[in-house]
Amino acid sequence: MVSSKKTANDHAYTYVAEKGLNRTLIAHISELKNEPGWMTDFRLNALAIFERMPMPTWGADLSALDPSNIHYYVKPLEKQEKSWADVPQDIKTTFDKLGIPQAEQKFLAGVGAQYESEIIYKSLQKRWAKLGVIFMDITQALHEHPEIVKQYFSTIIPPHDNKFAALNSAVWSGGSFLYVPQGVQVDLPIQAYFRINAASMGQFERTLIIAEPGSSVHYVEGCSAPAYRQHALHSAVVEVIAHASSKVRYTTIQNWSNNVFNLVTKRAVAYRNAQVEWVDGNFGSKVTMKYPAIILKEEGAKGLIISIAVAGKGQHQDAGGKIIHLAPRTTSNIVAKSISKEGGRSSYRGLLKVVKGAVGVRAKVQCDALLLDAISRTDTYPTIDIREQKVDIGHEASVSNLNEDQLFYLMARGLTQAQARAMMVNGFIDAFTKELPMEYAVEINRLIAHEMEGSIG
């Protein structure tokens, strides 16, 4: 059923699973990772659920995705023999436009070897460890901290949540485990694998974050550089548990190559007076379906979702956010911005739910779409389900084009049309960019400028 081989294009792997899924393969993955029995059972159960559930048809068009035509497990050799010459030219051009140094470019493209940031990362890890913070690969955590992982794993997103959560549960590999002890404030953002390693992030990663009472942490994953992938499916699961009075911010920037189906389930639970924030930037991919969710479970909990999506030629960004108010005096805010260009399509899909008895809830949803030309498309699918009367709910939506007179104003100040457009688009997503760490904000501005060069309307 499984074999060790070299793939046709000469990338060396120690182990490549055959395409498609079956129980033997799942058991074998679990065995290779030397997992405890409960995890093997969990995977096998999830596989059964995956096989039983139909493909979702309520969102983006997934008809071009064939789950039986995918390698579900590929373990690369430690040193990859991929060549810089194999990296597509448009990816290299984007690296240049983003101002990423050559050494870093090679690493991002999966060509380079060790990078010095790994050393910096190790020293940061020591500092965090002194505070009792556990931050490691989730497989490693399964061995070193089995009791914590078992206590929380899949408690927020069970396998039967949706077909791709089930798939991830069956085949997951890699991802981060982050545990912040009671009262510990982590001052610097914790970055998944460190920025430079973002490109080696997995295909079916699984992230689990636990913030104990009174703690705070900012977790950042991804980077603005295009993540070049040969495989066509990325399906991650992210679970966040924010205990009483803790604060968790989770920032994602992803720029997948345009062959990727990016189907991700992200959900957080916030207990009494806790605060959870998803800052989510979606670039690239063929299809993205991603709606970060926050369950405000106890009184005083707060949720914030800031989501942006950029849909270009041949792309559909189906993104948004979900907030569920289960307790009184919980507050939430969703800000979703999308940009569609060159025939791309962006959809806002959101849920705002308030249960009966959740009095004093305040919630606001704002979704703004920017269309850069007449051939692109945007739509909104906001679901608002309010079962309590004593609440304060606001919903605003807008669709706009780049204003010609504003463009002229900027061009009259010496900016080219592309510069002026980029500046206006960056202004449009300012609510997102200003929440990012500085180096990411700078890159996003450059990325937008680069995208505008190719799309003069």
Partner: protein
């Protein structure tokens, strides 16, 4: 030197300006006066290169270069600056961000952030603009008078060689008008060859900045040109006599 020759301009196929000719020497100050709807603002944005205004015939030559058909950003790079009648707000784009990029585009000089900021804050002080405006989206939430001062701030930073002021005096109280005049004179003192084309329908600004030449624009035509005594004539008799003469 600006040379406008027989310029005919249409908006949505409707001719707004007819056979406009105007020559402004380096360092000269021209006033273009006329009633509402006479085409003053159309001339301003046409000189700057607004794509919605079509030049049917005629030409615009600036410093020997034919700029009749070139894009607005190239005109700016050639030294032309338009102070807008109604400067637009641009959401999410801060004044500092925009001006730094504009400064770089117009001068070709890349200043580091600190050096540019020092220059910007000094100019803001001259115009009595609070420093907090630097990091606010440009013109957003600003009164008409504040917007005009922000236009002058951009002028101070971008140092053009030809300034077109479209109704700079509207919406300004006396104090603000004096500040604007001071800013203009500061730039002109540094560059005596800077020309100014003031577009206005009353004489308020001309009390502070005295023009060398005055043109009266009625129904899209320059019906009379003269020295600054023409302002007094307009003040005394209004535009109406000229309107009826032209109409006959």
């Amino acid at each position: 030197m600006l040379q406008v020759t027989n310029l005919c301009v249409a908006y949505n196929e409707h001719i707004i300006l007819h056979d406009i000719s105007l020559t402004a020497q380096p360092g000269s100050i021209h006033a273009l006066m006329g009633p509402n709807g006479s085409g003053k603002s159309t001339l301003a944005v046409t000189l700057m290169g607004h794509p919605h205004y079509a030049i049917k015939h005629g030409s615009i030559i600036y410093n020997g270069q034919d700029i009749t058909t070139i894009s607005a950003h190239l005109r700016a790079k050639n030294g032309i600056f338009l102070s807008f009648q109604n400067p637009l707000a641009i959401p999410g784009v801060t004044l500092a961000t925009m001006l730094k990029e504009a400064h770089q585009a117009m001068t070709g000089i890349t200043l580091d952030v600190a050096a540019f900021r020092a220059q910007l804050l000094a100019a803001m002080d001259l115009l009595e603009i609070p420093h907090t405006f630097a990091d606010r989206p440009i013109n957003e939430g600003c009164s008409g008078g504040e917007r005009k001062r922000l236009e002058m701030l951009q002028l101070l930073i971008l140092k053009p060689s030809l300034v077109i002021l479209d109704e700079i005096d509207s919406g300004l109280d006396v104090d603000a008008l004096q500040l604007v005049a001071k800013a203009l004179m500061t730039v002109r003192a540094a560059n005596p060859l800077m020309s100014i084309l003031m577009i206005t329908h009353y004489n308020r600004i001309t009390q502070y900045i005295v023009p060398d030449a005055v043109h009266m624009l009625i129904d899209g035509r320059i019906v009379e040109s003269g020295d600054c005594t023409l302002i007094d004539t307009i003040e005394l008799h209004g535009y109406s006599s000229k309107v009826s003469v032209h109409g006959e």
